[in-house]
Symmetry: C2
Subunit: 216 residues, 2 copies
Amino acid sequence: MTRNNENRAILPEPTIRRLPWYLSYVRMLDNLHIEYVSSTQISKELNVQSSQIAKDLSFLNIRGKTRIGYEVRSLVTELEDFLGFNRHHNAVVIGTGSLGTALMQDHGLENYGLNIVAGFDVRDEVIGQCVGGVPVYDINQLASWRRTHDVSIAILTVPVERAQQTAELAIASGMTALWNFTPIRIKASDDVVIANTSIYAHLAIIYNRMHGNDQK
Amino acid sequence: MTRNNENRAILPEPTIRRLPWYLSYVRMLDNLHIEYVSSTQISKELNVQSSQIAKDLSFLNIRGKTRIGYEVRSLVTELEDFLGFNRHHNAVVIGTGSLGTALMQDHGLENYGLNIVAGFDVRDEVIGQCVGGVPVYDINQLASWRRTHDVSIAILTVPVERAQQTAELAIASGMTALWNFTPIRIKASDDVVIANTSIYAHLAIIYNRMHGNDQK
């Protein structure tokens, strides 16, 4: 399979957000041994305009066939490949509280290419323990540990007041991507990849929309 | 304190996403007994343009004072009030796997106004148990349970292939807001509030940005 360089270009974020929806859907079809799917069918199922779907999928090395649609198996493979879900990416969890622990125990992440290989914490009672088969080390060991481990992604699940300093420590240790679950913005240079999964911001959106609806 | 009706209007999502950043930051200042903060200072700390901050905060009933800035304590209260974090919102978790369990154990959510009052599942081994002090019931009891409980928010942490049917069950039971943690889009009528927290989509963004950076 050939891959164009353009396929590695930085995609618009809305497209990247929709692609996993398509993948989840076609994976389900694949499990049901369904061979073809049209963009109309995806559109109906996911409530996304079919022109948008065609546009999003045009970034991939796959073309639908007239009147038949996309081959489901190829679409699964292409999407997994394109999204990076079928490659291994090692990560550490920094802050092994309830959320950090949940991520370490969530084997679903492996289906999306993420291997959590270690946890780091400041608390004596968790250092030296294992969570979901993953060892937890002292945060002070991060830099030296990193030198002998090929890991680029740090998952930040520390308390908010430690977020920035922990991020800086992770970056100084050689991490190039931070998955930030804390509710604060992390400052870092532009060459560090930062994804914010601020679940509290989503709560604010829910509350705002609910109260907005009350107004009607 | 008076509140304009416009403040209950549906805000642009980027603004709602930034407001919790400001809140996290001013809460930290408040803990340090700092009394005033300027938008320049917030800007520097959070890497958001100060004109943007002034615009975002203009939705609130608060005005900065020339040369002094915003009063920290008032800003905390106004932001909490505006974002709905100081009101109680009852919720149930549907699907008490690792993520669902983590959310039930995360007492941090209470600081953001969310009370998880029950969990629901299909698995006999968890039904009747308690997680983080919260009881887990049979999903088949959801509709009857809902009739006697004032709960509008359902948190969906079920396996992806059950997401749509579970969402429909939750809506039929009277839930008006769904916090969808599954990687698939939920179809529902427009009067249902849906927030998607697709952590896998964020992984795709990280991978894409990392590989994008490799190209340089």
